[in-house]
Amino acid sequence: MFLRLGKPGYRVWVLIWIMSLLILWEGIAWALHLFMSPQQAAARLPYLHQVMDASIRYSGTLAEQGAVTFGNAALGFAGGALLGLLLALLMSAAGWLERTLSPYVVSSQMVPVIGLAPIVYGIIHNAAWARILMAAYVTFFPIIIHTLKGLKGASREHLELMRASGASRTAHYTKCLIPSALPGLFSGLKIAAPLAVTSSIVVELMGAPDGLGVLMVSSLYYGHAQVGMFWATIMLSMGIGMISYLFISLIERWLTPWQPEFRSTGGGSA
């Protein structure tokens, strides 16, 4: 099969891609600066070195604020993942429950956070809890979708075996359904992990003393002088997102070594 995370090839390739994109960035920025005023060009895409310069100059701040955001993201992500997993399990347990809940789960995702903010703050005066709640709220959906897909994809033979063995409902889940759903769950987590960073930032825009989101808004608000800083925050949040993704991939490999793509020897590799 394809793709072994453990092979150096993969990680080297991530670096190659990042490098090529950065070079592309500088190239486009250079081209933009050829036929636009510096402000206009920088508003579209500033020089990479300008962004790097800001990143290095303010690396301390960025690290600090990044850590705040990442902390929130991780907390919200954990909450959202748990909530998503729980709901998916509940929904897979009974068809009627799925039919009852799914329209509401879906519509919950259609409500923009700003609409909820007054209500959430009205209920929970604690800003920290409000953040966690909102972050969880944004991340749980991909996890439900993918976990549910995984739970439903469990093989019929496996289910029959569990049933014939008189397995309890819990055992059905712990021994059969959840392991079959794990690969799916990890796809959901991989989508949700970078999203958690986003939602953490979104929550920061609803009023927070610090975090990448605050930096982002301020840098935008103060205009051209801060353009390097603005893009530096974007790069950092993308970096955090990518690292969370990589981290989840590592856990996936560790927890689900049986997946075809991780098998050290196997068929079809000729």
Binding site: G9, V14, R44, W96, V113, R169, G268
Partner: protein, 287 residues
């Protein structure tokens, strides 16, 4: 007979999971309900919630005021009073949403498909692409405004960017997590890369593709609405942010309700298409 010590009693009696389309009864499930009630339940639950909401149950429970959370009747009245504008804005935002959804999902699918041909670099590319999910809309909206102007295209671009990664990650998983025996079969038939894709990978990945579409359908609603917060001068998101600042909660919630309805209808469309397109996937599923 077997030694009694190894028999566990009927303690696990509710451990039944329906397995098979042919099973006529779902008797014995942990939570039983009559068939009629089960079909009606989603509606009943909704009606019950609305009634409680209308009767200020949530307001009392969570000590909320009408100016924080309007009652359904106020929202309905507001929808009626502003029907013409809401419809116009729904079409506008719906266009952004669908446009972005289609472009983003397509780009994500193309990226995943391309990536599936290259073992290491492909997976790495999807990893890098996934970082798109980490750019908040607040940052994207100004950037896209600078790139694509202040018209509808800047929101379409926002939605495209935020829907790309989810599709790429979902579909890539589906395209590459294939049991070796199927790979071996096509390999032995000297199938071309293109045939691997069309005959094996894509059909196998269809459930993942639909998982991606479902996630994107909700993401794109949020993308369009929140994208409009920034500079749009029309659309449901524009109206929502404006009305929230004006503390005109019934109209703000009218926007939310219309957006949610729009989203649910389109979401159900995706679910319906999935059912039509994957007949082999139906009867074997649990629950």
């Amino acid at each position: 007979m077997m030694p009694p010590a190894r028999i566990k009693s009927v303690q696990a009696a509710n451990a039944v999971i329906p397995i098979d389309g042919s099973r006529k009864d779902t008797e014995g499930d942990g939570i039983k309900l009559s068939a009629l009630f089960r079909t009606l339940l989603p509606w009943l639950a909704g009606a019950a919630c609305l009634t409680l909401w209308q009767l200020n149950f949530f307001h009392v429970l969570l000590s909320l005021e009408a100016y924080q959370l309007p009652v359904p009747s106020a929202i309905v009245l507001s929808i009626r009073d502003n029907a013409e504008m809401l419809l116009r804005y729904a079409i506008y935002s719906g266009t952004e949403m669908l446009g972005g959804f289609l472009i983003g999902s397509l780009l994500g699918a193309l990226a995943a498909t391309g990536a599936s041909f290259f073992p290491n670099s492909g997976k790495a590319a999807v990893t890098v692409l996934s970082a798109l999910n980490a750019i908040p809309i607040v940052a994207l909206a100004p950037i896209m405004n600078n790139w694509f102007g202040d018209g509808i295209w800047s929101r379409i671009a926002v939605v495209s960017v935020i829907t790309m990664a989810a599709m790429a990650v979902s579909l890539f998983k589906g395209l590459t997590s294939i049991q070796p025996q199927y790979d071996e079969l096509l390999h032995s038939l000297a199938a071309s890369q293109k045939q691997f894709l069309w005959k094996l990978r894509l059909p196998h990945a269809l459930p993942s593709l639909f998982a991606g579409l479902k996630i994107n359908m909700s993401t794109s609603i949020i993308g369009a609405i929140v994208g409009e917060f920034f500079i749009a001068s029309q659309g449901l998101g524009y109206l929502l942010s404006d009305q929230i600042r004006l503390a005109n909660m019934p109209l703000a919630w009218a926007c939310i309700v219309i957006a949610a309805l729009l989203g649910i209808v389109l979401y159900e469309l995706v679910v319906f298409t999935e059912k039509k397109l994957l007949p082999w996937n139906q009867t074997r599923t649990v629950g």
